[in-house]
Symmetry: C3
Subunit: 379 residues, 3 copies
């Protein structure tokens, strides 16, 4: 008897040496359609979703495959290509990072490679978990594609690491574990872009998920970064400035949806912005943020999450041509339906007022409403 049990265990131990035990694969995909009840086809948002407005149609916003695993007691790897990139559904890296545990419990971790810059809860939260279809312009304009390449140091006590894990695995749509304290150095030109100057960006963040006696979890954060960014702009003469200093800072508050959720973030700073009056790019102030309310309803095997978000942004977008000037006010009302863990459907009515101006289009304010639809598959 024991012999056989042993043989089974030996077999199991042998299996634990197999590649498929060390390397795992999962993924998700998001298919969109944005043209129902559209009142203004010129209303668009390039950073949000390239299929908004005129000539849009069915569109894959994301096709993600995530290869990951604990390959050593102190080394974790995470490589996430997106297969809906490059304008023609090419495969391009989003994350490619490696965590080196500095202590046995991995309370201190050094993350090397391309990964999310710890600035803003919604930026850190996976798009697989976010309720509104796109991130808010206010904080997402800080780091296009949320990621950069460099070194990040994270610290979190073991107990809080477990709490971060629970906030994701429970369906409460947490951000994942980016430490309670974070400190990073990175190129600063955003994900998959070559570095364009000789200086680095620096970022820091402090966050803490408090658990009330009722079980309700509330997370508060403070974060900031600074660096020099090189923009792309028109009419490059010897006098035109391309490198601009930028910085941002701000707080986040998350009341996790148990069952009523409330989420608010804001940031202030300075950075490059196109000025349509001077037709030049200038150093300007930045401010923006949002507030999101949601309510979780379990009904049989189904989960329904009605939600609303208001967000606002006044500033340039450094990663767009001429550091395009943006003035955004947007109200969203929607519902997410999860019949099971492998499929989600979101319908979201958007009432929007967007100004986006650069030298190619220096007078461009667009208002309008539309219904946005997304089917998401998790595998």
């Amino acid at each position: 008897r024991n012999t056989e049990n042993d043989s089974v265990q030996v077999e199991k131990a042998e299996q634990s040496q197999q590649w498929f035990d060390k390397i795992q694969l999962r993924g998700y995909a998001q298919l969109r359609y944005n043209r129902l009840f559209e009142t203004n086809p010129q209303l668009q948002c390039d950073q949000c979703d390239k299929s908004w407005g005129e000539n849009g149609g069915f569109f894959f916003r994301r096709i993600r495959m995530i290869f990951y695993g604990d390959i050593h007691e102190r080394v974790y790897f995470y490589i996430q290509p997106d297969f809906a990139s490059g304008g023609g559904n090419f495969a391009q890296i989003r994350d490619a990072y490696f965590d080196l545990g500095l202590d046995a419990d991995q309370e201190f971790r050094l993350r090397i490679g391309q990964s999310k810059v710890p600035f803003g809860f919604e930026n850190l939260q996976s798009s697989q978990n976010r309720i509104p279809l796109d991130r808010n312009d206010g904080l997402n304009s800080a780091v296009a594609n949320e990621r950069d390449i460099g070194l990040m140091l994270y610290y979190a006590p073991k107990k809080i690491r477990e709490r971060f894990r629970y906030l994701v695995s429970s369906g409460l749509k947490g951000s994942g574990d980016y430490g309670v304290l974070a400190l990073g150095l990175y190129n600063g030109q955003t994900a998959n872009q070559p570095e364009k100057n000789n200086s680095m960006h620096a970022v820091t963040r402090a966050t803490y998920p408090f658990e009330l006696p009722s079980g309700q979890i509330i997370e508060g954060s403070l974060q900031g970064y600074t660096g020099k960014f090189v923009i792309e702009r028109s009419t490059l003469t010897d006098n035109d400035q391309r490198e601009f200093r930028e910085f941002r800072y701000g707080p986040s508050v998350i009341v996790y949806p148990q069952p009523f959720g409330l989420q608010a973030e804001f940031n202030w700073g300075r950075g490059p912005e196109f000025n349509p009056e001077t037709m030049n790019v200038e150093d300007k102030p930045i401010r923006g943020g949002y507030v999101l309310g949601s309510y979780y309803i379990e009904h049989g095997k189904n989960t329904y999450i009605p939600f609303t978000r208001y967000h606002y942004y006044n500033g340039g977008k450094k990663h767009e041509f001429d550091a395009t000037k943006h003035r955004v006010k947007e109200l969203e009302l929607g519902v997410e339906w999860q019949p099971h863990s492998n499929f989600e459907l979101v319908a979201m009515y958007t009432i929007s007022d967007r100004t986006f101006e650069n030298s190619l289009n220096p007078q461009n304010r667009q208002k309008g409403n539309l219904l946005r639809l997304q089917a998401q598959i998790n595998f």
Copy 2:
């Protein structure tokens, strides 16, 4: 005893939760060489194989990796990148679709994402299974890369779904299961292309694989689609038309190779075509099709399939520059050799007469013969 059996079963049940049980991987690759016994290096076919003719050499026509699986009792996913794309062996999506079963037997399935447009048997049949090296111009010009993005509804009775599966697994080179009835809405600009207008394409197809008392299976189909397509063309003035209405329809007949196979398809329609006399792109009639004969010979572990195909096309190719005018007559004689299920070799002698004319090359008729070779690996 029972305890141990249980423990084995428990272990097995646990394993069925593992990622590698839900997600599977397979693939195939095709390496070509087209320069033997070539009589005319100007004879080329861009849609078929970019290594035909002048300056061609060894060439990967396809390197496919297919990630797929039943991730839920009613959800199936299928993501197929090609690693021989983008002109430099980049990874680009071919399929990325998700089947949502609408009933317990999944007789009704809603397919969302990028997948094959159900128009034509040879278009739907995998290149892994097709005998001639390239699809016929007549029906393949309807949907370049065979795919588009949108929603497809498929219906097939359980019994016929099993028959469709058998037609592939048995080596009879079936098309796979695209329903006996199909109905779809899609962007219409073909795979991996952004939508370029505000209207959708619609497609429908009916097919049925009849099984005779002898066991011989014969499949008959009818299919059609319509929509508006936006072409790329030269000298764009305000008067130049870019959007053209197009439609096509036609029948398919397949006598499965048990051991003698016969396959014939044809389609008629209208669409844009370059006119070298007016140097303009005009709405023109389309017609084209083919007939293919094959014979299966089993010899020990080897399978040999001698085959011949004649195909013909009169029309424009909407996805080529200026909707290039095509006049194609081609006769192929070849043999496929399968020493085992992981390797196939095809040699095919091609006698061709191809006219392909646009504003860059308005006088271009090329005739010639060549031997074409392909090694295929299935993994």
Copy 3:
């Protein structure tokens, strides 16, 4: 009892049919930083590492995923995309080859597809195993990215195939098994480039890893190739030559690090090279090579490998614009640290004198020193 053993074995046998037993996955990634103690930001090497010098920063040199396996008793497949390609971390094929065993022991193997051209030990050795950060200019300029598409025939006796395997698995940083005799035909325009003429390249190589009675292994090789290469160049007039004949040949000697290692290679030949005096591309002689010394120190679980390399190149680089003229002298001193098999850190001080001149920059000699750092993850 036996029943149960059988059931376990049956289960095991069934498992051996699973996709994850036939297909395996592994990979590695290299993150670089080259800006410490840099004395000349104009000192750069495009073929080595695009993040050298002015405006460089953190940089992924390689992100490799390798799908491979014995899919049949005589068929092996190997598909290796790199996810740090195309200028924006896109996925692009490095290897995509298939070995067909011609005899039961696979002493004779036909390799079809894109794979390494058997010219030079360091070229064949994986970057995962190489000690210096980049390959030497002298031999690596023969085949950019080391690979091409075509047919390779390899022969090695069973016993030597085992020795080649041991030289990698033991950590002695062998080249892998490219046969003791190799013969190949390939396009000649290097990896992922379309063929540009109507002639093939031919390569041959003989190598043998002698094992001394002491256990010390010494490998000696001779290799050569010839063909016609089409360069990219400026001011293309009807008189400008684009196709050039080229050939190279040379020896390699490797004393494996047991614990002291010595490695030397050299090659001579002719090929295209930009001449800054005539501002034309001309047929010129080529010579280049290197000598590398290393010493293996095991200390607890750690391995330390101090090393030094001097390398030298006089010739054009055919794959660069105008077949850029190169004059390279470089001395490197460094150490590789492996705390365990999943992580490696290399620090390398480089003393360099590089001339790289073409029509865009016909006067360009750069001297300088810098410290180069690399973190490598193996998964």
